[in-house]
């Protein structure tokens, strides 16, 4: 080139480099006037509620000034905002007592996620292509209203379906009220690890359709059947807090802890005794312990009470559960059964916990009922050191407009079946955070079914596999930008309503779904006449009905503390249900999918510490967090027993093909001593086709292998009942990433 063009080239590239931003060039900044008065460098703490799982932990949100990029009137610039910087647990909150789990710590990334949906969107490509155009809120709401009006005009209100996650909250109650007023069936809740079997068992045994709360700080002996209660199950932060006190919170007294499971969980690692058991036989072990206790006259059989009466053979001394028979069925040595039973009975107060895989078998309900009967026998129900039920606030009595339940709806698999055979096809489906396309078994054909629904609207903040099928997206605020609340069903001995106002102003053009539903309700051709102007009004009414606990009125105090907790008067409490006339339950052998010849190994998908069921895979801190049991990051893996691995010719890091009757997947192996030889385990959470830049196309989804086996009594998905075969297909290929600490820069990469 000649000199002139050379100079031009460098001039141009130099200028463009000056304007290019890898960081923030000071030259061209435009600033907008801030909407709030903020002092730079000074932190203020605001209350909050973590809504990432159902625990409902109280938050203390650290707020400081930050510079946000915004576009106003077509101009890009910066504006000072009051931004949430760090989430801590609220010290006095009765669920988490100041602590906060890893997922709660990462929750702040939800608000600032680069792939958050920032404004209402309307589908522009084909369904599933995830191509959307921006539309205004007015247009978006008008569209939804017109769809609902059309449905109502045709007398088809029952064709409105609402799909959400399991949560107890004012929001959930408002949704049900909206649906009931409209004339649609109640919301359908779907989550992979949802514990409905345990809720049903507690309803039968104790009249409480809810998850249990454990008074661990006062327990001397804890026996857990498969529950990862310190990691991912039920209310982990509350249970973790209680665990610390159980061990070292009482001078001279150290509680003991036994875990019964086939794969060592993070929780099981902390046990004083770890007892492997054959999958699906945990209920037999529980009754074996009860047998020894009753036979040895350590407790009277009548102590079994209502829960015991539900067990076939209880009143006659559980003859078929003698230690030798228990050994045959469960694989736990008879002598060990005797010893455990004696420890349980003698080290009082003692309590039994059951959750996770044991309940995800075809006989899960029986197992839960057996453990409930054991607890009754031990005298641990509603006694210090035992199992309690968090008093539930009866929303129908605190917010009068919430009375009147929506008609019950079918579970998701039945709904999908109804769509596929054409017998019952919802015309409009509203999606609120559930992701069944990722988290439901292939056999239910959820994706296929949803594709037949003419119109799908999503309120979700992210585009996941299920939301990617939607036609209209009305993105909700993140929990830090709106009223955050939860009505925990467990984790606290006293009643609690977590509620906190927005900690910060919305970052994007999102809108609170609760307010949106109330707005839509007003705009319908036949308005729903719900008695609240907005969600704040509903919360104010409901919380104000709760008794004051200080000199301030309940609502003011709740907003400052981040919730209400205390003693609930009977008038506001959901009462226990009386015993139902029901025949007792007997042990049935667990039914597994896949014959033992072709599929010799039990397959255990488990809730991962980082992602639970996969709904948190989009948070980068959680992707990079080394898994406590394997140190794996950004990866999927399958855990195999060393003896089994050797037999199959598999070494650490090898790639294997895992096959069930439903299909196959390939993933890397981690040889683990803490798993039974006839079991393989894989964490749930990865394998998203679509779920933000951090999770899309990463790893494998174990749900793809799950056969649609259901628990016999409740119809819940028995996600631990699939059998697989594992075959080595290759050497380590670098897909498995481990944080190896000291050897992190050595050859140990896989």
């Amino acid at each position: 080139m000649d000199r002139r063009s050379f100079i031009k080239l460098t001039a141009v590239s130099g200028t463009s480099a000056a304007l290019a931003s890898c960081g923030n060039p000071e030259n061209e900044i435009i600033r907008f006037v801030p909407d709030e008065d903020i002092m730079p460098g000074i932190a203020t703490m605001k209350p909050g509620v973590c809504t990432l799982c159902a625990s409902g932990c109280g938050l203390s949100v650290r707020m400081m000034m930050a510079d946000a990029d915004v576009v106003r009137n077509g101009q890009a610039g910066l504006v000072r905002i009051h931004a949430a910087k760090k989430l801590e647990g609220t010290a006095e909150h009765p669920v988490n007592h100041g602590g906060l789990c890893a997922r709660g710590q990462a929750a702040v990334q939800v608000t600032y996620h680069p792939d958050r949906i920032t404004q209402p969107l309307k589908r522009s490509g084909d369904r599933g292509q995830a191509k959307y155009d921006a539309i205004s809120w007015d247009d978006a709401i008008a569209e939804l209203v017109s769809r609902l009006d059309a449905l109502a005009m045709a007398g088809n209100q029952k064709s409105l379906a609402f799909l959400t996650r399991h949560r107890r909250s004012h929001r959930a109650a408002l949704v049900d009220r909206f649906l009931a007023a409209y004339g649609a069936p109640g919301a359908v809740a779907y989550e992979l690890f949802h514990d409905d079997v345990l809720r049903r068992a507690n309803a039968l045994s104790f009249g409480r359709e809810q998850l249990p709360t454990f008074d661990l700080p006062n327990a001397r002996y804890v026996l857990s059947f498969g529950a990862d209660f310190l990691g991912t199950w039920n209310s982990p932060t509350s249970q973790g807090h209680g665990y610390g006190l159980m061990r070292q919170g009482r001078p001279g007294i150290r509680g003991l802890f036994v875990q019964v499971e086939s794969r060592m969980t993070q929780t099981g690692a902390n046990a004083d005794q770890w007892v492997p058991v054959k999958p699906g036989t945990e209920g037999v072990l529980a009754l074996g312990l009860a047998h020894v206790i009753v036979a040895g006259k350590l407790r009277p059989a009548s102590g079994g009470g209502r829960a015991g009466a539900l067990i076939d053979g209880w009143s006659s001394g559980l003859g078929s559960f003698a230690p030798e028979q228990v050994e045959t069925i469960t694989g736990v040595a008879a002598a060990r059964v005797e010893r455990l039973a004696r420890e349980l009975a003698e080290l009082s107060p003692s309590v039994a916990i059951v959750g996770g895989a044991p309940l995800a078998q075809s006989n899960g309900l029986f197992t839960a009922l057996a453990v409930n009967a054991l607890n009754s026998l031990l005298g641990s129900v509603e006694r210090p050191g035992g199992v309690f039920f968090t008093p539930q606030i009866n929303l129908a009595s605190t917010a009068k407009g919430l009375s009147g339940k929506a008609t019950a709806s079918l579970p998701l698999d039945k709904i999908a079946a109804g769509i596929l055979d054409g017998s019952s096809v919802p015309q409009v489906l509203l999606l609120d955070g559930a992701n069944p396309v990722h988290a439901a078994p292939k056999g239910w054909r959820v994706r296929e079914a949803l594709e037949k629904v003419p119109y799908i609207v999503s309120f979700g903040q992210f585009l996941d596999e299920t939301a990617a099928l939607s036609d209209l997206i009305l993105p909700d605020h993140s929990f830090l930008e709106t009223w955050a609340e939860a009505l925990p069903e467990s984790g606290s001995l006293s009643a609690v309503a977590s509620v906190a106002p927005a900690a910060m102003m919305p970052l994007h053009q999102t809108r609170g779904t609760e307010d949106l539903l109330l707005d839509v309700g007003r705009r319908l051709a036949k308005p729903l006449n719900l008695p609240w102007e907005n969600f704040e009004a509903l919360l104010t009414e409901s919380v104000s009905a709760l008794p004051t606990t200080s000199t301030f009125d309940t609502w003011t105090e709740a907003q400052e503390k981040g919730g209400w907790w205390g003693t609930l008067p009977a008038a506001l409490t959901t009462p226990a249900a009386p015993a139902a006339q029901i025949r007792p339950f007997a042990y049935l052998e667990p039914q597994f999918d896949g014959d033992a010849g072709q599929f010799p190994l039990h397959f255990l998908p488990y809730a991962s510490s980082a992602f639970l069921d996969g709904s948190l895979a989009h948070l980068p801190w959680l992707q990079e967090m080394p898994d406590p049991l394997t140190s794996a990051m950004w990866s999927s893996w399958i855990e195999i027993n060393p003896t089994t691995a050797a037999k199959l010719g598999i070494r650490d890091g090898d790639i294997v093909e895992v096959a069930s009757s439903q299909g196959t997947l390939r993933t890397a192996v981690i040889v683990s001593p803490g798993i039974a030889p006839d079991l393989v385990a894989m964490p749930a959470g990865q394998g998203h086709q679509t779920f933000t830049r951090y999770a899309s196309g990463r790893g494998e989804n174990p749900v793809e292998l799950l056969a649609p086996v259901t628990e016999a009594e409740t119809g819940s998905l028995a996600w631990a009942a699939t059998r697989v075969r594992v075959t080595r297909v290759g050497d380590p290929d670098g897909r498995l990433i481990l944080f190896a600490g000291g050897s992190r820069e050595e050859e140990g990469h896989r």
Partner: protein, 208 residues
């Protein structure tokens, strides 16, 4: 001759292009993790925040610790006029100086709290009134401070409590229009005063 010219010209080309920042900061960071998804929805961005400087020139200035003494601000605020009206540094505009680390820079809202009614006919007051109406704020350029890689975590509050005058470190801004970097705030400047006044002088006092 022609051969040397060609080789020499090519070397110059490569060197100058690099120095001109044509390749920017990325050339020094081969492995900056790039966002995975190219598929962005409306309203989403692929922008990245990084500690890398935007240009090689900026990086060089930071490395050599060069700060301009006179900084041209987007708006010529006269400290002199306001100090003459007996408005203290910390009263309205630099309020957080006794509470926390940062003194703060005023928003146009702060100006308008008085200038809604004061001197409204002056051209510059009309200018800021219009800014306020348009929702635009001052994009002040930093005068005092240190390059990021010096990792100086200066905290105003203890200094104010120790009754250090603003002018000690900032010079006589009250007699100036826009602030200038009047005092050469080298590390020696800070350490000398700390030693004189028996304040801590270990590294971690300021660099953490």
């Amino acid at each position: 001759m022609p051969l040397v010219g060609t080789v020499f010209a090519r070397l110059c080309l490569i060197l100058i292009l690099t120095l001109a920042g044509g390749l920017g900061c990325r050339v020094f960071e081969r492995n900056v993790p790039a966002p995975a998804a190219a598929h962005l929805l409306p309203g989403q961005t692929a922008d990245v925040f990084t500690t890398a400087r935007p240009t090689f020139a900026a990086a060089l200035n930071d490395f050599l610790g060069r700060h301009p003494v006179v900084v041209e601000q987007p708006f010529e605020f006269p400290h002199l006029t306001h100090a003459g009206r007996e408005i203290a540094c910390t009263e309205y505009c630099h309020e957080s100086v006794s509470e926390g680390p940062v003194a703060g820079l005023p928003s146009v809202r702060t100006c308008m709290s008085c200038h809604r009614t004061v001197a409204t006919n002056r051209p510059r007051i009309r200018q800021i009134t219009q800014m306020r109406e348009e929702g635009r704020d001052f994009a002040w350029k930093r005068v005092f401070g240190y390059p990021a890689q010096s990792h100086v975590r200066f905290n105003h509050a203890p200094h104010i409590r120790a009754k250090v005058e603003c002018s000690t470190c900032h010079g006589n801004i009250a007699s100036q229009r826009t602030a200038q970097r009047n005092v050469d705030m080298t590390m020696g400047f800070c350490v000398n005063c700390h030693r004189e006044r028996k304040a801590p002088d270990d590294c971690l006092t300021c660099h953490f």
